[in-house]
């Protein structure tokens, strides 16, 4: 059975990086990613289960890895060779048990919460972060029974979603898929969970002006999360920047109050916040900015449009960036990272709730499965990755691999 395997190969890595100059994903065919025969991974323990992928998404962090643009920070928390694909919905052919201890019958569908924290690594007692339910912040990502790997899809032992041979998932990673969910709904749960965590990390207060930079999957899901999870209790105005017309339409439909092209975002925020302008920066600005891109440009833009003592939530995965931090210092800004998911406090009457469970609800409520725009069979991975790298320009949001033996792209 075939799989896309990412190997540590410096010449291929360099070639991919050069090719990416011509567009994200352009180096897929010459880079460290190889289309190879693969065997199903071994289960690392009794509490692990085989999962046969149905759909597996191509994420911005996957593209950054393929393009050689991701930070070297991650080098020690990945293990090679790995099979990418951490946005996965699959079938438990032999059944399994989900994170809540519920038995899932053979043939049940499940989505994977990919963080490989203390529980999958069989580390007891867990690290303080996992102990507190902040699985994304696990301190032991390179320890325990597994090879290093921050997530499924970056670990040599677990396999990943870009494989017909399947992957293995720990019981703590499994979330059953509601009956009424399409596979598209299910595959969008993981990025939605990132957005839920980000939206709830913003510390939004009543009547805040909130700006969202970037309208890819993360940006759009963040808008949806703000609309459905924050607004019911905390009224706020959401101003979003979106480059492409379809992104603008979707952003509006998901609840953004104002959606403008990126070069108009600062002006729209200025109007909303009633700020003055000094040397191209707003003197006031948004109370909270969600940077769903993570580039030098987007961070600079975010810092230039947030009010003094405001917060910039970094949602998109950054790498090494060049940003003038003088405004951060001078205006006493708070730069917050929002990575992955875990448990959200105050998210339910009982106090806490798993981010993934909230994401599943949000996907249903906001119909986020419709963000899946194109699906490719695995053997057309080069096209798929190029499409994902140019998703916005080509009218798409989320591009996925379809491992259900369907021929040709979905549309």
């Amino acid at each position: 059975m075939k799989a896309l395997v990412f190997e540590r190969n410096l010449p291929r890595f360099a070639a991919s990086r050069v090719a990416s100059v011509f567009g994200s994903g352009r180096g897929a065919g010459i880079g460290p990613l190889q289309f190879l025969d693969a065997l199903p991974p071994e289960v690392p323990g009794d509490d692990w289960f085989h999962l046969r992928p149905l759909l597996s998404g191509i994420c911005g962090s996957d593209l950054a890895t393929l393009d050689g643009r991701s930070s070297r920070y991650f080098e020690d928390i990945v293990s090679f060779p790995f099979i990418p694909g951490h946005e996965v919905v699959g079938v438990l052919d032999d059944g399994g048990v989900d994170h809540a201890g519920t038995a899932l019958p053979p043939g049940a569908r499940a989505v994977v919460e990919p963080v490989l924290g203390c529980a999958p690594r069989h580390i007891q007692p867990p690290c303080p972060q996992c102990g507190a339910g902040h699985y994304g912040l696990c301190e032991y990502l390179a320890f325990g029974d597994l090879s290093p790997g921050l997530q499924t899809g970056f670990c040599a032992d677990t396999g990943g979603g870009w494989s017909a041979a399947g992957l293995v998932a720990h019981t703590s990673q499994l979330h059953s898929v509601p009956e009424q969910f399409t596979d598209e709904d299910a595959v969008i749960v993981e990025p939605t969970a990132c957005a839920v965590h980000a939206a709830l990390s913003g510390g939004i207060e009543p009547d805040d002006t909130v700006a969202v930079v970037g309208a890819g999957t993360l940006g759009l899901a963040t808008i949806a999360a703000l609309h459905h999870l924050v607004r019911p209790t905390t009224a706020c105005t959401v101003v979003a920047g979106a480059k492409h017309p379809h992104q603008r339409r979707v952003a509006e439909s998901l609840g953004a109050d104002t959606v403008v092209p990126p070069d108009q975002l600062a002006r729209a925020v200025r109007r909303q916040a009633g700020s003055l302008v000094l040397a191209g920066r707003l003197t006031g600005g948004a109370d909270v900015v969600f940077d769903c891109v993570g580039s030098s440009e987007s961070l600079t833009q975010s810092l230039a449009m947030v009010r003094p003592r405001g917060r910039v939530v970094v949602v998109g995965m950054p790498a090494k960036v060049s940003v003038d931090l003088a405004p951060l210092w001078h205006r006493e800004l708070t730069l917050i990272g929002a990575y992955a998911y875990g448990t959200e406090s105050g998210a339910s009457p009982t106090g806490e709730r798993r981010t993934f469970e909230m994401a599943i609800d949000l996907v249903a409520e906001a119909d986020l499965g419709s963000l899946v725009s194109a699906a490719y069979p695995l053997d057309r991975y080069e096209e798929a990755i190029v499409h994902a790298g140019a998703a916005g320009r080509r009218g798409a949001v989320k591009v996925v691999f379809d491992l259900r033996h369907r021929k040709g792209p979905k549309r």
Partner: protein, 529 residues
């Protein structure tokens, strides 16, 4: 030979192509047989001795007003307000009429021993004028005598300390105007009356007013009931201003109104073909057209714009009258019609117009898409008396490149209006309801208006309201040669050629439509019978 009156040509097979302005360029269009082309009257002969005429007018005022010298005395407070950069169009060659008139007023004031004299640019919510623009309007002598001493100021509609609330009209309209002007013993207002809308009580009640005052008549409802605002007696805009003007007079503000008329000699000899009817073009005119038009076609728009904005019009003064506001204005309006009026028999299905590079609100600047709309639908459409040139449900075809381009110094709030308001709605009522107040009170726009050279934050709304009557009246608007994105944002349709536009218009007005083209500038006003 006396100048020929305006003329309505019926296009036949022998009619040469018709000249259309197209921003900083020109187009020649062959119109369908049977189309009408309206030409302005030829320029009226100017006054032989403008200075003497001004003196006479000041000494022999109209209406219930003493001669100016009799109103001047030592120890009094005298304020001279004058029209801003928006008039005349194009800006006139030196000496500007404002200079000629104000020099005479100052001479008389000096003879009377008046030493508390201040000059105020009556710019309402327009942008502040630059020093070169002020020097051009007033001449160096006046500028140097007043500006360095702080005696030449620009009306600040956002300075609460410089405004005074005089009361409310019987229609509940707030009248708040420039404090120095209101508290002077005599307020002399110097007008350049380029079109019939200018002058009268509108001079003080609008030119020296605050937003609080202006919003009572600068709104879509008033504009829709101004049919047209070039016809004072059928213009709610004017009715409101007249109520305010009378309240201003009743409040004890002593206004001495000076109004001037210009002929429509709008372009220098190099552009003489613009003033002529195409079938009368001489060989020299044809060569001039070819030379200018080819050169402009090869010139980037930015430089073509600079070239045109450097053009100064050889406008000459044809009349000057002074005295009591309403008596003066009645004469002025007659004079405007004498120069610009053309009698037109009946309405048309399609009205076409070539829009030039300039409007009252982009002197030395960019005619951005909102101003394109305003120039076509606010100004040219409204240049009528009786009934609109185009029938209800008809189509206006405008020719202009309509680039998505703004001057960020002059028109900052226009950018946001275009990006954020028109993307939501183009309905003037909805625009006013949903967005006006937030723009009008935006501190950044207020800052730029007060300290830079920016139009007030609410100004793009007024430009859109200016179109309200046309937008309600018309079945469609098509812009030939416009930038599609910008034109669509305006809510209009775009055509690449006049033939395409006529084809598209027929979808709205039906087959075999009548077409009338207003051959302007120079400016003309239609008296539609």
């Amino acid at each position: 030979m006396s100048p020929r009156p305006g003329f309505v040509l019926e296009v036949d097979r022998s009619t040469p192509p018709t000249l259309y302005w197209h921003g900083e360029r020109f187009r020649l269009e062959r119109l369908p047989e049977g189309s009408r082309v309206i030409y302005a009257p030829e320029p009226i002969d100017p006054l032989e001795d403008p200075s003497a005429a001004i003196r006479r007018a000041l000494q022999s005022p109209l209406g219930d007003k003493d001669p100016l010298p009799a109103l001047l005395r030592a120890g009094m407070k005298l304020t001279i307000a004058f029209d801003d950069i928006s008039l005349p169009l194009p800006p006139m060659e030196r000496p500007d009429i404002r200079q000629l008139v104000i020099e005479q007023v100052l001479d008389m004031a000096a003879e009377a021993g008046v030493d508390d004299v201040e000059l105020i640019v009556a710019l309402a919510l327009h942008r502040r004028m630059t020093e070169p623009e002020l020097r051009h309007a007033l001449g160096d002598r006046i500028y140097d005598a007043f500006a360095p001493n702080g005696l030449l100021t620009q009306h600040d509609a956002e300075d609460p300390d410089a405004l005074v609330h005089l009361g409310q009209t019987d229609h509940g309209e707030d009248v708040e105007i420039n404090k120095r002007a209101a508290e002077s013993d005599l307020l002399v207002y110097v007008n350049i009356n380029l079109v019939a809308m200018d002058g009268g009580h509108k001079s003080v009640a609008t030119g020296l007013a605050s937003y609080k005052s202006l919003r009572h008549h600068h709104n879509p409802q008033t504009m829709r009931q101004s049919r047209s605002f070039m016809d004072q007696h059928h213009s709610e805009l004017h009715t409101s201003n007249w109520r305010m003007g009378r309240l201003i007079a009743d409040s004890g503000v002593n206004v001495f109104q000076i109004e001037t008329n210009l002929n429509n000699d709008a372009f220098p000899p190099a552009f003489s073909f613009l003033q002529k009817r195409e079938w009368e073009w001489s060989v020299k005119d044809r060569l001039a057209y070819l030379g200018v038009s080819k050169a402009l076609d090869r010139t980037p728009a930015k430089y073509a714009r600079q070239i045109f904005h450097s053009v100064k019009a050889p406008h000459r003064m044809t009349a000057v009258q002074a005295g009591e506001v309403e008596a003066v204005h009645a004469v002025t309006t007659d004079n405007v019609w004498r120069q610009q009026g053309v009698t037109v028999d009946g309405q048309t299905d399609i009205l076409s117009m070539g829009l030039p590079y300039i409007s009252p609100y982009n002197v030395n600047s960019i005619l951005n898409p909102i101003l394109v709309a305003c120039l076509g639908l606010g100004y040219f459409f409204n240049m009528y008396r009786g009934k609109p040139l185009v029938r209800e449900g008809g189509v206006v075809i405008m020719s202009h490149p309509t680039p998505w381009e703004f001057n960020p110094v002059h028109h900052p709030s226009y950018i946001d209006f275009f990006e954020q308001v028109l993307s939501e709605t183009t309905d003037p009522i909805e625009v006013a309801k949903g967005f006006e107040e937030s723009f009008a009170t935006d501190p950044w726009y207020i800052h730029l208006y007060r300290t830079g050279h920016a139009y007030h934050g609410v100004h793009p709304f007024y430009m859109w309201y200016w179109c309200a009557h046309a937008l309600q009246h018309l079945g469609g608007v098509i812009i030939v040669g416009g930038d599609p994105a910008a034109v669509h944002r305006l809510g209009f349709r775009v055509a690449s050629t006049m033939a395409d536009a006529l084809e598209m218009a027929q979808d709205i007005v039906g087959p075999s439509p009548t077409l009338t083209h207003v051959h302007t500038p120079p400016i003309l006003m239609s008296d539609v019978q």
